[in-house]
Amino acid sequence: MFSRDSVDLGNFFSIIELMASYLGEFELMLLLAVLHLGDEAYGVPISRELERHRGRSVSVGSVYAALDRLEGKGLIVSSLGDPTPERGGKAKRYFRVTREGLRQIRETKQVLTKLWQQIPGLKTDVG
């Protein structure tokens, strides 16, 4: 009985751990946008990229909040650029995906692909 309880408890903690490590939809989109933009990945192009693909307006504040979260998880890193007069003397904050970030993107893609492929009618939609 004890071993069974401890196994259940272990499962419970594993689930919690997994839930905390999962990438959310918005976070995944951000990672892909940062990856796509490369060295030009800062707030404005990232927001534009998201708006272009999602087809609706994006709050720059929430983009930064999500980017901070990803940075906390070690999936991206950021650095400040030079201040420019076009931006009222304010510097750009550049983002770049880390190796861990890349690993998570690949892992998420694999999981999603497998899941999509299990649905016969939608197989053709998956790249």
């Binding site: 404005v44 709050s59 929430s62 650095s79 009222g88």
Partner: protein, 713 residues
């Protein structure tokens, strides 16, 4: 060239109404987008959205502060009762009078200081927890929290007081709310009244600790060229990992110890029971003590093991010390838990002593057995070669732990004096654990597992024997306490003429055995010596027609001490024998106390046959303030209980012009005129209502009714 500028108000809002450090990158991005052709409406929407996001992020970041403020403020009702007790005490009464005309600011400062002590202790506990968990504290903000707390508490308490007075009868449960008699009951009570008491403490504490925790650090690298130097994850992650290892290990270590202790406490409270026998044998007590000590150690080890082995624990894969060694080290503390629990249930101060010993042994054992744990970096190296005269200029750093230990000791002493044994136990345990952890000299870094096992096992073996003996002593004390309480309750229940129903009686016993405060009190005078009197015919009326001499009835009834809206003592009323001239009955909350004396007459008295009733009383009250007495006649046996109010008379010796300190009771006779006609035709019950002035609202006056004289018409 014309350059578009966004709304100044919106830019001000973005700069000033977002929490945390000003985000230049976000402001720059919004400006760049605006100048690229976005509308003013878009700019405003982005600014407001950024505010909302930053506020919610800040709230999530400070969730621990919020949770701590909530938890700490749950203790506030118990603290308020303690402070009220201190303020009402004789010592403080004389202190208030000392400053003469400056008494008001002096009293206000004293009142704030007393309440601020609770908040300071909370802030200290919060900061200590942060330090123990390896988190950094901003010194300046931490210091500011200490002086901010009393400054915020005073207006918050004032506003709460104002709200309470305005909506006392509107908020459900407030007017009829009352605080429990025990500190644990007050803490666990989440009614309207205790919650209202908690509000100012919660506000002051939350606002004080809000800024004391560090905000998230933002990477302030510079120039995109940093990319070229590999600002990849490895360097950053490795740096983070190496800097946080010590903190993570310390945090999880604290968690393991706490979980073990909690499990041991739960097992103690649930499973450690006193033997059923009134006089158990020493052998059975020793056997029981051995079982309980084993239970305490095993429960602690099991609780810690569950957390040690869970997948989120870093110790599962890479333990800093082997678990059996950790468990052996902690066992020297956990085995004392059953004794502390049994002592606390017997309301004995031994609980505090045992908790202190256990906590010290636990902390010292851990410190000794876990020398592999990363120790904080010492600055001793810098002083290894002091320059000439450097020692004279050296200023010893202030030790937060020392203050905490001293505070724990002083608070525990106060708690012991007012018999808050559980609180004293917790405080002494905390102080002893801190002392044990900080002041035990760790051995060298050489760590041989076999030797450590042997040492920990020896330590546990040496500790277990006294723990068993102390647990047996606790069992003896517990049995003796239970027998005393049982005897007292049985005596009260058997003498009471209005004994409650069996189920209610059991409940009353249970209640009386656990608490030190009561819902209401019924005080019976000591029974008179049996007198041998000649048998006489049963009278149908005390004042038969033709009687000219007064009839004297000695008071043999009960005194009731109640609080409104109650009109009679409930089934949980505490019954005791004593003289109201000697007992000290006080209200432990803000609800006034009422005192009545009830006398049933041996026969009816026709209203028309009685002209006056003289009530002889004894006044032994040495508190200034007028006291009145009112008389109520009742016709008890009738199904519709009817009463007749005869008005009230002042007790002359309590009036300001006649007041003096009494060395012995002063006798007085109060005369009440009985109308020839009224709502009653006869009466068989007399109720004396003691009507105190404002000075006696929370302390029952020491007035006793000696006898009644019924004067014929």
């Amino acid at each position: 060239m014309y350059r578009r500028e966004p709304s100044r108000q919106a830019t001000w809002v973005l700069g000033h109404l977002t929490t945390g450090p000003r985000d230049e990158a976000l402001a720059g991005d919004l400006l760049e987008e605006f100048r690229a052709g976005r509308s003013s409406g878009w700019y405003w929407r982005q600014v407001l959205s950024a505010c909302i996001v930053s506020w919610s992020k800040s709230l999530v970041m400070r969730a621990p502060a919020l949770a701590f403020a909530l938890l700490w403020s749950t203790l506030a009702p118990a603290w308020k009762i303690l402070v009220d007790g201190i303020v009402d005490s004789q010592v403080f009464a004389s202190l208030w009078d000392a400053p003469g005309p400056l008494w008001l600011p002096f009293a206000c400062a004293g009142w704030v200081a007393l309440h601020a002590t609770f908040l300071w202790a909370g802030i200290l506990a919060y900061l200590l927890t942060h330090t123990l968990l390896g988190k950094s504290i901003r010194q300046r903000e931490a210091r500011r929290a200490f002086w901010l707390a009393p400054l915020l508490f005073a207006p918050a308490a004032g506003l709460t007081f104002l709200f309470a007075n305005l909506y006392w009868y509107s908020v459900p449960g407030l007017a009829h709310g009352r605080l429990a008699g025990t500190s644990m009951g007050q803490i666990a009570d989440f009614g309207a009244l205790p919650d209202l008491i908690r509000v100012p403490y919660f506000i002051a504490l939350l606002a004080s600790v809000w800024t004391a925790i560090p905000r998230s650090k933002r990477i302030v690298g510079h120039l995109p060229g940093a990319f070229a130097e590999g600002f990849g994850a490895e360097v950053h992650t490795l740096a983070l990992s190496s800097s946080s290892d010590a903190g993570v290990v310390r945090r999880f270590f604290t968690l393991m110890v706490t979980m073990g202790l909690l499990n041991s406490l739960i097992a103690g409270f649930l499973l450690c029971r006193l033997p059923d026998a009134h006089s158990p044998t020493l052998g059975s007590l020793l056997l029981r003590a051995i079982v309980y000590v084993a239970l305490g150690g095993a429960a602690g080890a099991m609780g810690a093991y569950l957390y040690w082995q869970n997948p989120a624990s870093p110790f599962r894969e890479d333990p800093p010390v082997p678990f059996p060694l950790f468990a052996l080290a902690c066992t020297s503390g956990w085995v004392w838990v059953p004794a502390a629990v049994i002592f606390s249930e017997a309301l004995s101060a031994g609980a505090a002593l045992v908790a202190m010993i256990g906590a010290f042994l636990l902390a010292a054992g851990l410190r000794s057995a876990t020398c592999l744990l990363p120790a904080p970096v010492s600055s001793a190296g810098a002083q290894s070669n002091p320059a000439l005269f450097e020692e004279a200029l050296y200023k010893a750093p202030a030790e937060l732990v020392g203050y905490a230990i001293a505070l724990c000791l002083y608070a525990a002493l106060v708690a012991l004096v007012i018999r808050w044994n559980l609180s004293a136990a917790a405080l002494l345990a905390l102080g002893a654990a801190l002392f044990g952890w900080k002041k035990t000299i760790p051995r060298g870094q050489a760590f041989f597992t076999t030797r450590e096992y042997r040492r920990a096992a020896l330590r546990a073996a040496f500790v277990v024997v006294p723990a068993i003996l102390v647990t047996a002593w606790a069992l003896i004390e517990g049995v003796a306490y239970r027998n005393r309480v049982q005897a007292g309750v049985d005596a009260g229940a058997s003498i009471s003429s209005a004994a409650p129903k069996p189920s209610e009686k059991d409940e009353a016993k249970k209640f009386a055995s656990r608490v030190s405060g009561y819902e209401s009190v019924i005080l019976w005078p000591y029974p008179e010596k049996d007198e041998i009197v000649a048998p006489r015919l049963r009278e149908t009326s005390l004042l038969l027609p033709g009687k000219t001499r007064p009839v004297v009835i000695r008071f043999t009834g009960a005194y009731w001490y109640l609080q409104p809206p109650d009109k009679w003592p409930g089934p949980k009323a505490h019954q005791a024998h004593g003289s109201p001239l000697k007992v000290n009955v006080q209200s432990r909350d803000d609800i006034p106390l009422m005192m009545d004396a009830h006398q049933s007459l041996p026969a009816d008295v026709a209203l028309g046959s009685c002209r006056e009733i003289d009530v002889d009383i004894d006044n032994f009250d040495n508190k200034e303030g007028p006291i009145g007495v009112a008389l109520l006649l009742g016709d008890g046996p009738n199904t519709s209980h009817r009463t007749l109010y005869l008005g009230q008379q002042p007790i002359v010796s309590s009036q300001p012009q006649h007041f003096r300190l009494k060395a012995s009771p002063v006798s007085e006779t109060l005369r009440f005129t009985v109308p020839a006609h009224g709502d009653l035709r006869k009466f068989d019950e007399v109720t004396v209502l003691i009507l105190p002035g404002t000075e006696h609202l929370w302390v029952a006056p020491r007035i006793a009714v000696r006898q009644f004289q019924f004067i014929p018409r």
